[in-house]
């Protein structure tokens, strides 16, 4: 069953390019929407088949060694959700039917790659699917073939290649000590050879690679350019899920399945997390470009997630996983809002805006909800994940980092208040009087994501206990 998460998106993309392309073009958007909705449903609704053993027919053909735990389920749901939102944004922004169709194909390949990352139990398989996601990301960033987009894609290719080299060197060293690339085999070998220099070197290479992929400071060089230059729909997808899957998820998976949380690893994670959370937020405060501010905000929130992981406890991991979900939702929402504003005004300079709330009430309302959730204001969803991360840091004995996390939240609130005041509040500029609310394909995903933010904020407390407890099994291997 798990294999279908990779096979279905890939084969869909393949089949869509077979003869009858005209018919396929018309069907592609609907087919993808159904696929992504199915992925979301199957990953969270028990009994829909995700936990069942491979059906015999599939098992006879495909002998894949894949696995799923609560963290993978969170990721699979987020991938489906962000892909669905990207699909909606794509249908408005790309006018040409060929472009729309091509974008959908790349989206399917990226989803297949990310699903492969989430399901892999072998470090080399994980690397291959990371590369699939990276290739799809290059194409998405450069999709419009404009100068800025090509420059952003080139920067991403360069830094991603460095990350790939570091990662493959790390894999080679892990293989050297364990004679296998399976998570459990490497884990056993590492237990037998504790504190080996080779293992530390392998882990250092891997961490550096994943920090680049996650866009954490000081490895963030590609993030603002890539997010800003990419087409609106691609920005939603990149910021919403790609960096989280390729960077943060892989990091958590390597830590819980292979190396475990040593004191030195926790120290590195906490420092990088705190550094990214604070410097990312300070950098966001100084931006005048809507998307660039959101890019730095993403770096800051990635730092938050890493702080949760760095606590090294089940509570910290639960907080990190929850913040991955929340960030996927509110950052996708904010990028959809920025796309709506950019489409209406033809500019992303927030100093030239003002008073748009009266002209674009839905965009304005959903943007306020997304911003407040990102800043961790109760009772919105972002509050719970930030609260859990801060409690996890405090209870693990890292009180200083807990205080830094709170400071990061205050800074987040500060730059989002500046953004809201500059864009949606204040006096309406006379030249924007003709501006109208964005079209249905941007309003619908914005409303959907806003409902998730409010709904998750209200209902999360009811399931938090179960959610946190389930991370004991993740940490147990």
């Amino acid at each position: 069953m798990y294999a279908l998460f990779v096979l279905v998106p890939f084969l869909s993309s393949f089949i869509l390019n077979l003869p009858f392309r005209k018919v396929n073009k018309r069907l592609s958007c609907g087919v993808c929407a159904v696929l992504f909705l199915l992925q979301m449903a199957v990953s969270i609704i028990p009994g829909l088949g995700l936990d069942k053993i491979n059906p015999a027919v599939l098992a006879n053909i495909f002998n894949f060694d894949l696995g799923v735990d609560v963290l993978s389920k969170v990721m699979l749901f987020c991938i489906g959700l962000v892909a669905l939102v990207t699909l909606c944004a794509n249908s408005l922004f790309l006018k040409d039917s060929d472009d729309k169709f091509n974008f959908i194909n790349i989206l399917l390949i990226a989803v297949a790659g990310m699903n492969g990352i989430v399901l892999a139990k072998d470090i080399f398989s994980l690397y291959i699917f990371l590369e699939i996601t990276a290739v799809a990301s290059f194409i998405l960033i450069a999709f419009n073939r404009e100068e800025l987009g090509l420059e952003g894609a080139f920067k991403y290719i360069l830094l991603s290649s460095i990350a790939s080299v570091l990662m493959i060197a790390g894999i080679a060293l892990f293989f050297l000590v364990s004679a296998s690339t399976h998570f459990s085999a490497i884990h056993s070998a590492l237990l037998a050879q504790d504190k080996s220099l080779l293992i530390n070197l392998a882990m250092a290479l891997f961490l550096a690679a994943l920090f680049i992929k996650a866009g954490l400071m000081p490895f963030h060089g590609w993030v603002p350019d890539a997010y800003t230059a990419a087409p609106a729909a691609a920005s939603v997808f990149l910021a919403g899920i790609i960096t989280k899957t390729a960077g943060i998820y892989v990091l958590i998976r390597i830590l819980v399945s292979i190396t475990g949380f040593s004191l030195s690893i926790k120290s590195v994670l906490l420092f990088i997390g705190a550094f990214s959370a604070i410097i990312g937020a300070l950098a966001a405060l100084t931006q005048s470009d809507f998307k660039r501010m959101l890019s730095y905000s993403s770096i800051s929130q990635m730092g938050y997630i890493i702080l949760g992981v760095g606590a090294g406890t089940a509570l910290g991991l639960a907080g990190a996983a929850l913040h991955i979900f929340n960030h996927a939702v509110f950052k996708s929402l904010l990028f959809v809002n920025s796309a709506a504003v950019e489409q209406a005004l033809g500019s992303r300079d927030i100093h030239k805006m003002g008073g748009l709330g009266s002209q674009m009430p839905i965009t304005s309302l959903t943007s306020v909800l997304g911003s407040l959730s990102c800043a961790g204001i109760p009772p919105l969803a972002g509050f719970w994940s930030k609260l859990i991360i801060i409690i996890a840091l405090w209870s693990a004995g890292y009180q200083t980092y807990a205080v830094i996390a709170i400071l990061g939240s205050i800074l987040t609130l500060a730059y989002f208040l500046c953004l809201q005041r500059s864009v949606f509040f204040g006096k309406l500029n006379a030249e924007f009087k003709h501006i109208k609310e964005a079209g249905f394909s941007l309003v619908f995903p914005a409303l959907l994501l806003a409902v998730i933010i409010v709904g998750a904020g209200i209902f999360l407390p009811l399931v938090l206990d179960k959610f946190i407890l389930s991370f004991n099994t993740v940490l147990g291997g």
Binding site: G116, I139, L197, L198
Partner: protein, 163 residues
């Protein structure tokens, strides 16, 4: 051991030349040469199948692809090439230094690599490895190829609006 060391030094020198040379054509040839030397190391270590693949794909096919693309581009004039080389030297003069320092560090710490390394498990054949043990990776490779080809078509095909 002495032979290994010479081959390794040759590999590093060729790789450095590949990165620092002023002409794209020479860089492609340098890449082919580096791959060929890497093939020697692989043969020497008993990984003959990997060596054959390295030789045919990395030392053969890929440089041919590069050279065929380079032949479609406009070459630099001698003066431009010289300027380009000078700016490249100014930027990358530190690269050989880094390689030497890293080499010394690796030699020094290699003394401490005393971990009881297990022997590599060599399954029966490459066919068995590919079709039975690494099926998921094989699927991944197919998706990468498909994605890459699709990307080239999407990014380089002339679009209707720009026609």
């Amino acid at each position: 051991m002495f032979l290994d060391l010479i081959i390794l030094i040759l590999l590093v020198l060729t790789a450095l030349w590949t990165v620092m040379t002023r002409s794209l054509l020479r860089a492609s040839l340098g890449l082919a040469l580096a791959s060929a030397i890497l093939t020697l190391i692989m043969f020497n270590m008993g990984a003959s199948l990997a060596a054959v693949l390295e030789l045919s794909v990395c030392a053969g096919l890929i440089p041919v692809l590069f050279i065929s693309v380079i032949s479609l581009t406009q070459p630099l004039t001698f003066k431009e090439a010289l300027e380009h080389m000078h700016s490249r030297m100014a930027r990358f003069w530190v690269l050989p230094l880094i390689v030497i320092i890293l080499g010394v560090i690796l030699v020094l710490i290699s003394v401490k690599f005393k971990a009881p390394l297990p022997a590599a498990q060599t399954p029966d054949s490459a066919r068995f490895v590919l079709w039975h043990l690494r099926q998921f990776d094989l699927l991944g490779q197919i998706i990468i190829l498909f994605g890459g080809v699709f990307g080239v078509v999407v990014l380089f095909k002339e679009r209707k609006k720009s026609a």
